[in-house]
């Protein structure tokens, strides 16, 4: 594995050479302030912005939101089907670790047998240059899904921001080739660089603001200890809008439909689809084997956190946290994991009774309950004492609540 230094001043000349006959995709700030991976029209007039996580993943460049599969033409002698021509060589620059991990996941889905022709055509000539995250953002939890903040595999080149220069490591033969082809841009790493880089990696790992216990959730699902109320709570907040699936870098489900362009011609398209849609599993006669919002959410989270885990030994979630920001109802994967982890199996029944009573009485919030349950799981202290210690309720509050409960028929 080659290691080198690339001065920031030389990024633009380097990309100019690298992307000469390719489309170049990198994070750009739009005039309205959004940061998105975008195709760069002109290297000179575009300012690549590596200051934060782009709002969308790079999924669309390998698996577009809408893609023509072929056109059809019908004549009296039958049909002519003309497949769309393949994609062009692509350089993906400045990809975050989560987004690279998501591409590895898509590789598994689209390139097992049979291969997806359209994905393959784009993927086979794609160079991935990633950048590790020195500072995780508010909703990130790639540490829990083991997909960041720095990667060991998956990239052709990985950059680490050392201030005025990038530490560059090659992850694959293609990366080595690039370093060899344009040696003028790279200089050897010093001990100083190595130390600084290591320090940054350590700090990044401890910089996560959220702790989303993905593996614990997997265990709990495997033990069948997720209570139905968790699914129901989330289902009540799900509008089935599909936003989570569209923003998710590893959601690869799609639907296919025909769009007539004239009475005798048309195109067959595929578009992203979402398993939270009712029509996703509904059949032509109207029967739907996954008929309720609860079942759909269960299917969604189980797929990502359980079945993928079982099959690939890692979750189908890369911890990018984007679904946290997109959902109207707060039905994101991190929320689900938090809720699952906050439940303790043996005490679940009892604790939910007291907790629910306090929530019903308006004395505590659900968020506060989860926090308290988390602490109880850690310390083994009774839930009531924890809530009192947190200064949320008094002894009288709890007593009153329980008394009310006794009075009920």
């Amino acid at each position: 594995m080659e290691k080198n230094i690339l001065k920031k001043d030389h990024v633009r000349p380097f990309l100019r050479k690298l992307a000469r006959n390719s489309r170049l995709i990198a994070p750009l700030r739009t005039s309205h302030g959004d940061l998105l991976y975008q195709e760069i029209e002109s290297i000179d007039s575009s300012e690549i912005d590596l200051s934060e996580q782009p709002q969308e993943s790079a999924k669309q460049f390998l698996f577009p939101q809408q893609e023509q599969l072929f056109t059809y033409q019908s004549t009296s002698n039958g049909f002519t089907f003309s497949p769309r021509k393949s994609g062009m060589p692509t350089v993906l620059f400045g990809l975050r670790s989560c987004d690279i991990s998501a591409i590895l996941y898509m590789d598994v889905i689209f390139l097992r047998s049979p291969r997806d022709h359209y994905y393959l055509q784009k993927r086979k000539d794609t160079i991935i240059i990633g950048i590790g995250c020195n500072e995780p953002w508010d909703n990130c939890f790639c540490n829990a899904t083991r997909t960041g903040p720095f990667l060991e595999i998956g990239f052709d080149l990985q950059l680490t921001d050392l201030g005025d220069r990038f530490y560059v490591e090659s992850g694959r033969a293609v990366g080595d080739e690039i370093l060899k082809k344009w040696p003028q841009f790279f200089s050897p790493v010093t001990d100083e660089d190595e130390k600084l880089r290591y320090q940054l990696m350590l700090e990044a790992r401890s910089g996560f603001k959220r702790h989303v216990h993905v593996e614990t959730a997997f265990q709990k699902i495997a033990d069948n200890s997720v209570s139905p109320s968790v699914w129901e709570h989330l289902a009540r907040r799900c509008d089935g809008c599909g936003g989570c699936a569209y923003i998710c870098p590893t959601c690869t489900c799609f639907t296919i439909f025909d769009r007539p362009l004239s009475p005798h011609t048309g195109e067959r398209l595929r578009t992203w689809d979402a398993c939270t849609h009712d029509g996703f599993t509904r059949m032509a006669g109207g029967h739907n084997p996954v008929n309720t919002a609860t079942d759909r959410l269960k299917r969604r989270f189980m797929h990502k956190l359980y079945f993928d885990y079982k099959q690939f030994n890692r979750p189908g979630c890369v911890g990018c946290g984007r679904c946290v920001g997109i959902c109207f109802g707060g039905v994101d994967i991190a929320m689900f994991v938090d809720m699952v982890c906050a439940e303790k199996r043996d005490q679940r029944q009892n604790a939910t009774v007291i907790g629910d009573l306090l929530i019903e009485a308006g004395l505590i919030t659900r968020k506060q309950l989860y926090k308290a349950l988390e602490k109880r799981d850690r310390t083994g202290m009774p839930l009531g004492n924890i809530l009192m210690e947190m200064g949320i309720v008094t002894k009288e509050d709890i007593a009153n609540c329980l008394a009310d409960k006794v009075e009920r028929p």
Binding site: R236, R237, G240, G242, H277, G279, F328, G329, G362, T365
Partner: protein, 538 residues
């Protein structure tokens, strides 16, 4: 609109959307918030998650009512009875905010007298809700420090729409729940720019900014800017034009971005009126049912193809940028109007929408400080924003109501114009579904959205369905005094017996051929929410 104007002096959300999150009690009435206003519902659910109490009044067991602490499943059209009952409870249990009433309101004595003459049990019987539930809701709302009311078309689309709104305002003022942050009365607007359209004077009696056409000084201001004499009488309302166009002497019409053949009540009558015109021009992004009747159709640019502002429910004026150039021969609405005006001999020359905004600011005090360059750099400005250095107004009526003192306007319960009888024994309500927008002109062109909800579905109580021998998926023919249509039924337990519910997005099931064009006398809003129908297996 009219209801809040008579009571508060301004018809718009008194709070900002984000303030809902901080409310202590939220009272949702006549709003299917989760489906129709998901962004508002999101705030409501967040508030509930942090401990807020939620009261929902709706004849249907909607999604939002499932999260409610109290669901008041009232009879359609009995909102005033419910609100009066709540106020009666508040009055007799001494939960009124005396200081607020004294300092900020007028005409309380009238309301008090009116309420004291009411009997709670009788009102409860009219609304179909147990008195104990009403009392619980009244105490909860009145007892809160920060109480927010959200209402929508379930309140306004009745013949007593204005009185409904006035009653809501009465309730809020009685308990001092206005004029503050996290506390107020909030009409939710149905579309991204309904508020903006009203603000710009798309109401018969006003110029932009709710400036009355009857006021000679105002008229003079606009005449100087536009160089033309302007009428001093209010124009016609929509139903005056679409239902009584001939009587009102209308010979030609220009319809922009509306599909009244689908969306207006007694739609057959609308179609008849439009077909009888000497000339009809329609401007829309798709060839709608209305556009099909036109002599001339202007292909309009979609939101993504033009630049301009929209004003949302919370009075926030936001700038939308052009994302792609117009496809084909499409033109933006302003270009179409300008060119048309030019052909008609009135020159309208504006370089771009920013210049139009400058004229709005010049002539409309509440928009006085809103310019495109300011909007570029922020998430929008909330009117009133009178000057360039004003930062906008998150909540209305701080220090005092827009009209000075808030005015209590007592109301009696008014029964719907058309009640069920032997011939038409069911009450039909109309509404929306999450995946479609209005008459479906746009959303039905999306493959995924139309797959989600491919056709209209008539919800019927499962007991009624059983009695009628109807199974899920059966086609029925649904009849009212005005028209009929065919639709598939779905037995549910989310509505009471005797009621039916259907959405109006689908031209195959044009429910507005059935609905009642009876109007609220003030706001002129038709009673879409209640009409009497009968059904039989098709």
């Amino acid at each position: 609109m009219a209801g809040l104007a008579t009571t508060f002096g301004s018809g718009a959300m008194t709070n900002s959307i984000n303030e809902i999150t901080g409310a202590e009690v939220i009272f949702v009435i006549g709003s299917n918030t989760t489906e129709a206003h998901p962004q508002i519902a999101r705030r409501i659910l967040e508030a509930v998650d942090s401990g807020a109490k939620l009261i929902v009044a709706d004849p249907r067991r909607t999604e939002i009512s499932r999260s409610a602490h109290i669901h008041l499943q009232l009879r359609p059209g009995s909102d005033i009875a419910l609100l009066n009952a709540m106020m009666r409870v508040i009055l007799s249990e001494g939960l009124v905010d005396d200081a607020f009433i004294e300092m900020r309101t007028e005409n309380f004595r009238e309301l008090r007298k009116h309420l004291l003459a009411q009997d709670i049990d009788q009102l409860a019987a009219v609304s179909g809700i147990p008195a104990s539930q009403i009392k619980k809701a009244a105490r909860l709302y009145a007892g809160a420090q920060k109480g927010v009311i959200c209402y929508c078309l379930g309140i306004t689309q009745h013949i007593c729409g204005t009185a409904n709104v006035e009653s809501i305002a009465n309730l809020a003022m009685l308990t001092g729940h206005v004029e503050q942050a996290y506390t107020g009365v909030n009409p939710l607007r149905g579309q991204n720019n309904v508020q903006g359209a009203c603000d710009m004077g798309a109401i018969p009696g006003v110029f932009p900014g709710y400036q009355q056409v009857s006021d000679p000084l105002i008229r003079e201001k606009f005449e100087r800017a536009w160089g033309k004499a302007l009428p001093s009488e209010p124009g016609l309302t929509i139903t005056d034009m679409t239902h009584r166009g001939r009587e009102n002497g209308i010979r030609a019409m220009f319809i922009m971005g509306e599909n009244p053949v689908m969306s207006d009540p007694d739609a057959s009558k609308v179609e008849e009126t439009l077909k009888g015109l000497e000339f009809l021009a329609v401007s829309d992004i798709f060839l709608t049912e209305t556009a099909r009747l036109a002599h001339v159709v202007f292909p309009a640019a979609s939101f993504a193809e033009k630049c301009g502002t929209v004003t949302n429910s919370e009075r926030r004026v936001q700038l939308m940028h052009q994302a792609i150039p117009p496809i084909g021969e499409c033109r933006s609405d302003s270009e179409i109007i300008m060119e048309l005006a030019g052909c008609l001999g009135y020159s309208m020359e504006y370089e771009n929408s920013a210049e139009i905004m400058e004229e709005i600011a010049l002539l409309t005090p509440i928009y006085g400080g809103i310019f495109h360059d300011r909007l570029e750099t922020c998430w929008g400005l909330q009117w009133p924003c009178p000057t360039r250095d004003h930062t906008g107004t998150p909540y209305l009526h701080k220090y005092s109501f827009a009209r000075g003192k808030g005015r209590f306007v007592p109301a009696e319960n008014i029964m719907p114009d058309e009640l069920p009888d032997d011939d038409y024994p069911f009450i039909l309500m109309t509404g929306r579904v999450y995946h479609h927008y209005h008459t479906g002109a746009m959303t039905r062109a999306s493959d995924i959205l139309s797959r989600e909800v491919p056709e209209a579905v008539l919800e019927i109580n499962s007991y009624d369905a059983e009695e009628k021998g109807l199974r899920h998926g059966d086609m029925v023919s649904l009849r009212s005094r005005r028209g009929e249509m065919e639709v598939r039924v779905k037995p549910v337990d989310t509505i009471s017996r005797g009621m039916l519910y259907v959405s109006f997005h689908f031209h195959e099931s044009p429910v507005n051929r059935l609905t009642n064009p009876a109007l609220d006398p003030v706001a002129k809003c038709p009673e879409y929410k209640v009409c009497a129908v009968n059904l039989e297996k098709a």
